[in-house]
């Protein structure tokens, strides 16, 4: 009775009994496992990056001696212990050897920086700890106060980490890039989705999307060698590599993203809207601008945000085309240095565990927080208020 043909089974309590389907259960668990893993990986990346910048925070405030000891004991938990556990696995004995040597060096040469964690590794004498952190305290207080300055001199005798200058640089390049990429990308998308003939669309769309597959180093190279000279001849400004060149080059990288997503959003606007508008005696332009575009606003906004995200985090192009001088000026024709380019160019030159090293990781966390904030803004403001304003409550 149990081996009934499934199509002819009768409705008995027996045949309708709940079945446990192993394969489905497994597939479901694997899929959800993968989903959680990917989320966890992103979180872990953020936590790791942020953790590397922790030394900046731990002793930044004016603390009592006892508290310093607390920090020095808490820190090994966050930083020291993992290195003990993890590093031997990954790097094996060399790390232990290296750090052992490092410790000797750092203790002698640069007591400012990383004392606490390294010490824990070599089980240094407890008495040394407060002293070192005390010197740390002063150095790091200075570090914090320089964050709001406009000078970026990470390797000078008196290091200054003026994040403001970098922020200005990043914003300048982003704004210039979006001023070009936003309108160009959206209008190109509007053209292909509403005006272009089917044939033209079949050619234009893949060609622009191909630009997205362009390695950014190639765009950077192009900007460095050709665009920079061209713009200099055209506008006659002094600095050859500047925010404007970098911004325009970044626009090239952002246009395909903005174009592709806005094109999808515009094409997804129901044809019935277009028909209704045309039947009211609207011209093609009026229909495109007053009906199709507003109806696709959420998608277009998402496209622009993604474009901003791309520009914000882009490293290679800015590294090559902006001149990399952390200047504090609003002039678009002066060199700038962005957050991402700073990490890209300096990470290889910092001493592991030094303040400079931590500051770079702090910049990394800042980039994370910015893009997170950008998305949150999109989610809550755009999907909530802006759309209501355009499309009615």
């Amino acid at each position: 009775m149990s081996s009934q043909n499934p199509t002819t089974f009768s409705f008995t309590k027996e045949s309708l009994k709940k079945q446990f389907r192993w394969s489905e259960f497994l597939a479901e668990k694997i899929i959800s496992g993968v989903a959680f893993l990917s989320i966890a990986i992103i979180f872990l990346i953020f936590i790791f990056v942020f953790k590397e910048s922790l030394p900046l925070f731990s002793s930044s405030k004016t603390v009592e001696k006892t508290e310093i000891q607390v920090t020095s004991t808490t820190q090994p938990e966050t930083y020291g212990a993992p290195t003990e556990d993890l590093e031997p696995e990954t790097y094996g004995t060399p790390t232990e050897d290296l750090t052992a040597i490092d410790v000797v060096e750092t203790n002698e040469l640069e007591p400012e920086t990383y004392g606490e964690a390294v010490e824990e590794l070599t089980v240094g004498t407890e008495e040394e700890t407060p002293k070192i952190t005390e010197t740390n305290k002063e150095g790091k207080n200075n570090t914090w106060s320089t964050f709001l300055s406009c000078e970026w001199f990470p390797v000078s005798e008196n290091p200054r980490f003026g994040l403001i200058a970098l922020l200005i640089g990043t914003l300048k390049v982003t704004i210039i890039a979006m001023l070009f990429a936003g309108p160009l990308g959206v209008l190109a998308a509007l053209y292909t989705s509403t005006f272009a003939s089917k044939r033209a669309k079949e050619i234009i769309k893949p060609v622009i999307e191909l630009l997205a597959a362009f390695p950014s180093v190639v765009i950077g190279f192009f900007a460095l060698m050709i665009m920079a000279t061209f713009f200099q001849n055209l506008f006659g400004y002094e600095t050859r590599l500047n925010a404007f060149v970098g911004g325009v080059a970044m626009a090239l990288a952002a246009i395909p993203i903005i174009y592709t997503i806005s094109e999808d959003a515009l094409s997804a606007v129901p044809k019935t809207y277009t028909e209704a508008s045309l039947a009211l005696g609207a011209s093609k332009w009026q229909t495109a601008f007053f009906v199709t575009l507003p109806a696709a606003i959420p998608g277009i906004f998402a496209a622009i945000l993604l474009g901003i995200g791309r520009v914000f985090g882009e490293t290679m192009i800015v590294l090559m085309a902006t001149g990399n001088a952390a200047l504090n000026s609003a002039n678009p024709f002066e060199s700038v240095r962005t957050f991402a380019a700073t990490i890209g160019s300096e990470m290889a030159e910092t001493v592991f565990g030094e303040t400079h090293y931590s500051v770079l990781f702090f910049i990394g966390s800042l980039l994370f927080v910015f893009s997170f904030g950008l998305n949150a803004l999109a989610e809550f403001y755009v999907k909530g208020k802006l759309i209501k304003k355009i499309q009615g409550k």
Binding site: A276, A279, L280, I390, G392, K393
Partner: protein, 252 residues
């Protein structure tokens, strides 16, 4: 049939190679409701859409013959299609309000026609909504999204939107096919009132609806106009056998 609004002379329409309308000739009277009936795929919607040249949007459409509206051939090369559509409005089968507020939906047409004065727009919005018998239901929430209205309200909103640009002719493509009987009767009532000011052409699958609402009825079959006459005569003593078979349900 004295006062003729639209005169069609041997209008043929091809989708690529396929003949969709075969030499249609008919006269549509002014300020009357003309119903187009016939089985699916017989070309009645195609014919309706060719009256305001909506078929232009479909690639590979070829049209021969004449469509004279007030004596002007709208398929003439010198005629601007945008201006035609301003005078010949259309209500679609599926209600398709814009994803904007109710007010903006109605004001859209006048706005693109260059009316900017807020007071004038308010007035147009109110009269259009009143004409479409939906004013009382929406007057307190003109700022709300039109997508939040019920199906029947959306369709009446679409009618109001069409009326807001003050057309001469209103084309309706099965305006009540997706609506419940109550909304349908509201739309039919509306059609009845509107014919005083507009010439209305309505496509319908519903024979009772054609009988109830229209003054004239045209029966299409396989891309040809079989018969057109006063609705009363079509439904009581049709002159063609095919028409009789169709309206009595003995078709096919």
């Amino acid at each position: 049939m004295k006062d003729i609004k639209i005169e069609v002379n041997k209008l043929s329409l091809y989708y690529g190679e396929k003949l969709a309308l075969n030499e249609i000739s008919m006269q549509i009277p002014r300020n009357k409701v003309t119903a187009l009936i016939g089985p699916s795929g017989c070309g009645k919607s195609t014919f309706l859409r060719s009256i305001n040249r909506m078929n232009d949007l479909i690639p590979d459409v070829k049209i021969t013959g004449e469509m004279l509206v007030e004596g002007v051939n709208i398929y003439d090369k010198n005629v601007d299609v945008v201006n035609i559509r301003k005078k010949i409005g259309m209500v679609f089968q599926k209600s398709n309000p814009f994803p904007k507020s109710i007010y903006e939906n109605i004001a859209y047409g006048p706005k693109i026609n260059g009316i900017k004065d807020k007071k004038q727009l308010d007035e147009i919005v109110e009269t259009s909504l009143r004409q479409a018998a939906i004013w009382d239901e929406v007057k307190d929430r003109l700022g709300d999204s039109a997508m939040g209205l019920s199906g029947g309200q959306q369709q009446r909103l679409c009618i109001a939107r069409t009326l807001a640009v003050s057309p001469d002719i209103v084309l309706m493509d099965e305006p009540a096919s997706a609506l419940d009987p109550i909304s349908t009767s509201k739309i039919e009532e509306l059609v009845h009132q509107l014919k005083e000011q507009y010439t209305i052409i309505i496509v319908t699958h519903n024979m009772q609806q054609a009988a109830r609402t229209s003054d004239y009825t045209a029966f299409f079959y396989l891309g040809e106009l079989i018969e057109m006459d006063k609705t009363k005569s079509i439904f009581t003593k049709p002159s063609k056998k095919q028409t009789e078979d169709y309206i009595t349900g003995r078709f096919g």
